[in-house]
Symmetry: C2
Subunit: 305 residues, 2 copies
């Protein structure tokens, strides 16, 4: 059975472990701080690989950014990584096969191989966090597109009438409604325009200071303003998922990410299925943990090598 050194590159820390081809950890997960300088970063990659490469067959990386179609480089800008990151040819780091993939795609693959979408050969994994990420599996293969950048579902446009400015400076991206940041923007919008805010438990708060946590906490206290904000946010999530379901006719949609945990999975499933023109879809909560990037990159690398 093949063994992979799975490395997850984050903006603040780099995690790594040896993983087998079923996704089991064969070593403890080790962590290092992410260097701010490109040479230090390369040195760190080399020392991590040196310490483990004799015990593995393949090296795999999960990273932020768009990865090229041959899975060897990061091609887009990655604001949280040192300058020059997109110049690294990852295959030069080891004599063993090296594989790189976008972390959202890795996490999606982990959900498909060992998580909530196991057995669903057509599935959409959507990550609701500060932003919106996605990975799409079609007939058991990851959708990568012509250049490796497919699956940017956060940049679909919905609600074009509303004209909300996304953190990417474009207008009406799905991410600007369906993410955690989107929930906060919806909270501010509704506080300014709806009378529900006046009788809310948050009515003494400055509108700009209302947080996503306030809304989730308010829901549990039956605060009607919080409920209106949450329902609007969740409905925007559903609007995007209706489109994706009609496009892909998937077996399932898996909702993951920190904000995903707050959603009402059954309501989302019912609302989608009452609006689509394709056959019904299952909606599920993600099962894999924070280590999904590491596991997914290892399993994708095994599938390739």
């Amino acid at each position: 059975m093949k063994k992979v050194l799975g490395i997850d590159i984050g903006g603040t820390k780099i995690s790594y472990a040896i993983i087998d081809e079923k996704g089991n950890f064969l070593s403890q997960i080790e962590k290092k701080s992410t260097p701010k300088n490109i040479d230090e970063l390369k040195n760190l990659f080399q020392s991590i690989i040196k310490s483990k490469e004799n015990d593995v067959d393949i090296i795999s990386f999960a990273t932020a950014g768009a990865v090229n179609i041959s899975n060897t480089r990061v091609e887009s800008s990655t604001p949280n990584m040192p300058e020059g990151y997109n110049k690294i040819d990852f295959t030069e780091l080891s004599d063993k096969p090296v594989y790189v993939e976008n972390d959202a795609n890795c996490a999606a693959w982990a959900e498909y191989k060992i998580g909530a979408a196991k057995g669903d050969d057509n599935t959409i994994i959507i990550t609701l966090g500060t932003g919106v990420g996605g990975g799409i599996i079609i007939e058991g293969k990851l959708l990568r597109g012509k250049s490796g950048r497919a699956g940017e579902i956060g940049s679909m446009k919905i609600n074009s009438g509303r004209g909300r400015i996304c953190t990417c400076h474009r207008k009406d991206c799905y991410e600007s409604y369906a993410s955690g940041s989107g929930l906060k923007m919806t909270a501010e919008e509704i506080a300014r325009t709806s009378s529900l805010f006046k009788s809310s438990i948050y009515n003494s708060k400055s509108i700009r200071d209302i947080t996503t946590y306030d809304i989730i906490a308010g829901l549990k206290q039956n605060d009607l303003y919080s409920k209106e904000v949450f329902d609007t946010w969740q409905n925007d999530i559903i609007i995007g998922l209706i489109g994706l379901t009609n496009i892909f006719d998937p077996d399932s949609i898996v909702i993951s990410g920190g904000m995903g945990e707050f959603t009402d999975i059954k309501k989302i499933e019912n609302d989608i299925n009452s609006e689509i023109v394709v056959s019904p879809v299952k909606v599920k909560l993600a099962k894999t943990s924070n280590n999904a990037g590491m596991i997914g990159s290892a399993l994708l690398a095994v599938a390739k090598y």
Copy 2:
């Protein structure tokens, strides 16, 4: 070289011809009126097949409606076809292999194999007619989904703030903006709300009587109202295509259909490429003719058998 009897089933007429595996016609195209009764329809299918089946290896059908995953039946309702149409098992019509596929998917496949998208292994074909149809090719394969219904791009939701009612009775479907019917609805909306209508060459017309032809004709006469309607319509088309490009990262988008001919392909390409987060896409006008359904079904059948 394999020969296919390609049959295109329309609501008013049924066209058929013998086609080789390169998409060439080996016989004249023959046409019959579509019977209004299911038994007459089946009899017609049988007599068409009987007259040609000794000369071919495979029988292929292009049809409206959602076709099941094994390409043997139509599973959705098809308002223009006789009642009971979805009970026909097409494989019972001949002892030779029989293949059925949705007509939009067939037309997309024809564009990919012998049309504007030839060589583009990742491509989206969008048909702008009375409605909006689509077919999606990923790594040289037709996207079919779990049940054969994938590619329903006309049912994505955009512009959810506007609340337009689609002909399918749902709200804010892409089709209700980007189709010919969408152009007419946009014309009515703008006539009611914009001062441009007062100085338009159509200002004496009843708003409900403004046609898509009026708008296209008005454009050529530099009518500012017509230009505003057209630009709004084309911008809505672009909004949907930006989302699809970010999702699929395709080599190309092919625009087909009666309304497609009126679009400004270069502007659409520029506008998409200035908004997407994936790598640039080419936008092209479709090349295959009205016979794309027949040809595409034949070529798909050859690929399967």
